[in-house]
């Protein structure tokens, strides 16, 4: 029956994880506190800033607007998993190259959201890039360099790297 803590089993970055969690624990707090995957950040905690963006069953979500208990049976990927798999290495390099970060707090969410757009293929317009990142705040860069980096990677990938 209903309880304030529940056992969950899920796949995180390719590894099967079974934990008992408080029902009230958000997914991003579970990832950070229970699994010590601290790449996903906690900013506003109400779905506005986007720095907690992770993938659940292949789709990007707000880690602060999902509960860990909702992820029982799900496949979760964080910035650590995406980094280790190497698929976002070009994005990360382009962010460094173009100074698309200063403090870096928003960067994990930016990379996860950007990859969500780029994995669809093609070269999105700058407007489409801005629209796709509209739910991710950066308070340092003014976004221009972030859009530049993502556009450059899209063009490079379209040319076969």
């Amino acid at each position: 029956m209903s309880d304030t803590s529940l056992g969950i089993t899920l796949t995180v970055n390719g590894e099967r994880v079974s934990e008992r969690v408080d029902a009230r624990k958000t997914l991003v707090d579970f990832l950070r506190e229970d699994l010590v995957l601290t790449g996903s950040h906690v900013g506003c905690e109400h779905g506005v800033c986007g720095t907690c963006t992770v993938r659940v069953d292949g789709e990007i979500v707000r880690g602060c607007l999902m509960l860990a208990v909702q992820c029982d049976g799900a496949t979760v990927e964080t910035i650590e998993g995406l980094s280790d798999a190497g698929g976002v290495a070009d994005l990360q390099a382009a962010f460094v190259e173009r100074n698309a970060l200063q403090c870096g707090f928003c960067t994990p969410g930016m990379i996860v959201a950007a990859e969500d757009l780029l994995k669809r293929g093609g070269v999105p317009t700058r407007a489409a890039i801005r629209e796709h990142l509209s739910g991710n705040y950066c308070r340092c860069t003014g976004y221009q360099a972030i859009v530049d980096a993502i556009e450059a990677v899209a063009q490079a990938r379209a040319k076969g790297r």
């Binding site: 209903s2 029902a23 905690e45 779905g47 990007i60 602060c64 607007l65 509960l67 909702q70 739910g135």
Partner: protein, 279 residues
Amino acid sequence: MKPAPFAYQKVRSLDEAVALLGGHADARLLAGGQSLIATLNMRLSAPSLLIDINGIGGLDRIDAKDGTVSIGALTRHAQAERSEAIARHVPLVARAMPYIAHPAIRNRGTLGGSVAFADPAAELPACLLALGGDIEAHGPNGARRIPADAFFKDLYETALAPDEILTGLRVPAATAETRTGFAELTRRHGDYAIVGLAATARAKGKGLADVRLAFFGVGNTPLRARKAEAALEAGDVEAAVAALDLAPHDDIQATGAVKAHLAGVLLRRVAAQLMEARP
């Protein structure tokens, strides 16, 4: 902040959910959670029990049949955004979808949740009102339908009883004569509207009939502007703007006077959309 403690139960059937709702006065239903979990995090609400309805099968279907489109309550925004049936049969919703929040939120948020939550500045409640559809609800005595015009009662208040669940939306399918319009003003893409307008009409000769204008962000619920509707049917856009009788209150985004002015600006834009021939 972090949510106050609560119990969680994932249900597999509507009856199970209704029974739990009936037994827990302060239980809340968890659908997409994109508004609910934010309010839990901020401790604006602290229910003792969350009833997760995401495991109930069959509530995420979109079916077009006999001139009516049924949209299951658990249809995600992103699913509606990609749906050919929505694009073809409910073009107003397709038009509104890109304005709703951001991709990561549209992946989780549900159409039923948005309508049931009834945020006065949200897009979908206004779309439903403009479409003139019905809300389907399931309660202890079975299913019933509530017309959109009778659904939105007051600030975050709907015609749903405390132990009823919104299970789906039924809207008329667009015909060759259907015209739609949608516009909103926000400070930032994806934010709740300062003022917004969803509209439907039927092309009649060179003019419009059956105009339905549903403004949002201007009152406690989405609001029809009936005098303006009549003026548009008479073919006079400026008379429609002059006939707007909304009385928006000041809020954090704008004064009531600014909102009233902006409502007129949106009405001109949407009237132009309604007059366009359908591609």
